[in-house]
């Protein structure tokens, strides 16, 4: 195509008239049309932006691991179980507790149901379960720690030891070191109530848990000698009774400072070390005074040292045995 060689001056056409006008010169309807047109353009831009962002996100996912999306489509069966816990439970327990169907794929699993299975075990305080594509199920657990043990006896006469957590939950401890469990005192003076396959939480255990924790960390030499912790008089007298290996009954008040009570006990214990027989009762619930009672010899009244005399009947009014008590009946 040839190019014209003539120089032709441009003529002004009506198309050279500028059409844009200021909104204030428009009519009300014109301004409304301008506003809606602007909003429409803004909406289109927003939608395009969102689509672009979504496309970018998908491309990033695919670029990071191209197998992910196809794996979802294929819905591979679960091959791995991953356990993240702050306690002692292990993979075997998890596999047994979840009881996954054979060859179930990740997308077929009901995570809420699996979570409820885990929470059915009292040792599990909280649980989250998530899918990790392509074939891994991840369980993240928070476990309860035992503070005392409790012995129960079924109707058939079988005895069984349970663990009690700080929040009162009674559970069948799994995976704990037996040596550690053996150091836990026994719990007495409480009534366990059946709930499903287990027991309802023990009420007011927290006071005893605080005492035990304080003793464990501040007076470990005393804690080691504790055999039984009784809550029998907690509700009525606000007293916690501890039976030691030597047979001494130590009475704490739940309303006092445990640290001070432990300090007095430690001091009294040192002074009583030279005594021919261990004291039968040490009462720390009297404030600054400590009442110590010895078991009376045959035909003699009970002897009291340091503190005002304590009635003899009180000194022997309570007895706790770490062995299973056949008289205790479980209320269902």
């Amino acid at each position: 195509m040839s190019v014209p060689l003539v120089n032709i001056p441009p003529t002004r056409s009506w198309r050279d008239i500028p059409q844009p006008v200021k909104p204030r010169t428009m009519s009300r309807e014109g301004r409304w049309r301008l506003l809606t047109a602007t909003l429409r353009v803004a909406g289109v831009v927003a939608v395009l932006g969102a689509l672009g962002w979504a496309a970018w996100t998908v491309s990033e996912v695919v670029r990071e691991d191209a197998r992910k999306l196809p794996a979802v489509a294929r819905a591979e069966p679960v091959r791995h179980l991953e356990l993240i816990t702050n306690g002692v439970l292990d993979q075997d327990w998890l596999r047994q507790a979840l009881a996954l169907p054979a060859k179930a794929s990740l997308m077929e699993l009901d995570l809420a149901q699996l979570r409820s299975r885990l929470l059915a075990h009292g040792q599990v305080n909280s649980a989250t379960i998530e899918r990790k594509f392509p074939d891994t199920l991840v369980a993240q657990l928070s476990e309860r720690s035992p503070v005392v043990r409790v012995m129960t006896q079924s109707g058939a006469g079988e005895s069984k030891a349970w663990l009690v957590a700080r929040d009162g939950v009674v559970f069948d401890g799994v995976g704990f070191d037996p040596a550690m469990v053996a150091t836990l005192p026994w719990l007495d003076g409480v009534t366990l109530r059946r709930r499903g396959d287990g027991f309802a939480p023990v009420a007011e255990i927290e006071a005893a848990a605080n005492l035990l924790a304080k003793a464990r960390w501040e007076a470990e030499h005393l804690y080691r000698t504790w055999m039984v912790v009784s809550l029998a008089r907690l509700q009525s007298d606000r007293e916690i009774e501890v039976r030691t290996k030597e047979g001494t009954l130590v009475v704490f008040t739940a309303d006092g400072d445990y640290f001070m009570q432990l300090a007095r006990l430690s001091s009294a214990w040192e002074k009583l070390a030279a005594a021919p027989t261990p004291p039968a009762r040490i009462d720390l619930s009297l404030g600054r005074e400590v009442s110590v009672a010895f078991a009376p010899a045959a035909g003699q009244p009970p002897a009291v040292a340091i503190a005002p005399r304590v009635p003899a009947d009180r000194a022997f009014s309570f007895f706790s045995n770490p062995q299973p008590n056949p008289k205790r009946e479980l209320q269902n």
């Binding site: 195509m1 040839s2 190019v3 014209p4 060689l5 003539v6 032709i8 001056p9 003529t11 002004r12 056409s13 009506w14 050279d16 008239i17 059409q19 844009p20 006008v21 010169t25 428009m26 009519s27 309807e29 014109g30 301004r31 049309r33 301008l34 047109a37």
Partner: protein
């Protein structure tokens, strides 16, 4: 225009009323889906003299049309009229460059650009460049001369130009509604396109659109517009003459004109009188029918004479064998066709809309807006046809006109 559905508004800002038609153009066919009308204010002889009043009326008509159509207008084809519009003819010729004298696209473009390149006075702007048929060595070529053999290529353009401020005023009225003016079309071309057939245009026909404030005309020869013009006289001048001659208000004169006015004197009884209202109410009085007819006939004759004079040598009974076609609101005056036939010496008749136009749009008052829509669409189609190469919808639009 794209092939998607477009909603086009055809707007005629007239002296007596503003007409808006909404067309739905699918790329293949055009359907009229909405209509809006509003009495005009702020417009005298086709020019906007009160921007606010004219805007209010136009926007009201646009709103009405959009409501009627149920769609929003996207672009506007605007009719242009007014006494400020003028035209001139300019032609150019080039020697065919190729050694084998084969005319190519470059030759055509060069001769067209040359013919359109005449400088305009200050403040004037081109509204239309209407090309007349090419001539190759003096021989008329109805279509494109590309690939024909010849030594000299000639073409002429009838250039219509107008005052920049008047054109801008009209455009800004539409822009005030936040609509784009896609095409500015002479009212005469729009109306002429609607009331004449391709055969009439080929044989030569004069289309006269007598409006309220202006009379637009277009003379077709060899199938294309040859000459256009605007006379700033219309139906309101007949009303004005009646008002002065019979001492009436404009409203009374308009009423008499519509009821008894004629473009030729027919009454023989000089004593025949007619009532102003005919209801015998206080103030109702009689007027001689002869006087009414004489005034309207004289003014109509004079108007047509002015048109003939403006056409000059371009019009002759030999080159306008298809006669005269009259349209516009004031063409409804009785006897106007007979008067036109006498003035121009050729057959004359009232223009009618094509049969496919619905009944409520067949009034002569809608011819300009209808033509605007179809002329605008066909013009746009022609512009975009080379890019499309197929010319599918151009063919469709042409088929529409072919049926007229």
């Amino acid at each position: 225009m794209s092939s998607r559905t477009n909603f086009i508004g055809a707007v005629e800002i007239g002296t007596s009323k503003i007409t808006v038609l909404v067309g739905e153009y699918t790329g293949r066919e055009l359907a009229i889906i909405g209509c809006g009308e509003c009495s005009s204010r702020g417009v005298i002889k086709g020019s906007v003299v009160d921007y606010k009043a004219a805007s209010e009326c136009t926007h009201s008509a646009l709103e009405q049309a959009e409501r009627d159509a149920g769609e929003r207008i996207e672009v506007v084809f605007l009719a242009q009229t007014g006494g400020h519009l003028e035209g001139f003819y300019n032609e150019a010729s080039v020697s065919v460059k190729a050694s084998d004298n084969l005319i190519d696209a470059g030759d055509i473009r060069t001769v067209c650009d040359l013919a359109k390149s005449k400088e305009l006075p200050a403040g004037r702007m081109v509204v239309h460049n209407i090309r007349r048929p090419f001539r190759v060595d003096g021989r008329l070529v109805p279509g494109t001369p590309e690939h024909l053999v010849g030594q000299r290529l000639e073409v002429g353009y009838w250039t219509v130009h107008g005052q920049e401020q008047r054109l801008a005023d009209n455009i800004h009225v539409i822009r005030g509604f936040n609509l784009e003016v896609r095409e500015l079309v002479l009212a005469s071309l729009a109306a002429g396109h609607m009331v004449t057939t391709p055969e009439e245009r080929q044989h030569g026909v004069l289309a006269i659109d007598i409006g309220a404030g202006t009379t637009d005309f277009v003379l077709y020869r060899d199938g294309a517009p040859h000459t256009t013009g605007v006379v700033p006289v219309g139906g309101t001048h007949l009303t004005n003459d009646l008002s002065i001659g019979l001492r009436l208000t404009d409203g009374q004169a308009e009423k008499l004109k519509l009821r008894f006015g004629r473009a030729n004197v027919q009454v023989r009884d000089k004593g025949q009188k007619v009532w102003l209202d005919g209801n015998f109410a206080i103030g109702d009085r009689q007027f001689p029918l002869l006087a009414i007819e004489q005034i309207t006939a004289a003014r109509t004759w004079e108007l047509l004479e002015v048109v003939k004079k403006k056409l000059g040598n371009a019009f002759s009974s030999e080159t306008c064998t298809a006669g005269v076609v009259l349209t516009g609101g004031s063409a409804k005056l009785a006897g106007v066709a007979e008067t036109a036939a006498k003035v121009f010496g050729v057959p004359a008749h009232l223009g009618e809309a094509p049969t496919w136009v619905s009944e409520n749009l067949r009034d002569p008052g809608f011819h300009t807006a209808l033509g605007l829509l179809y002329y605008g669409v066909s013009t746009q189609a022609e512009k975009s046809a080379p890019a499309r190469r197929g010319g599918g919808f151009l063919t469709g639009v042409r088929r529409l006109f072919a049926s007229t």
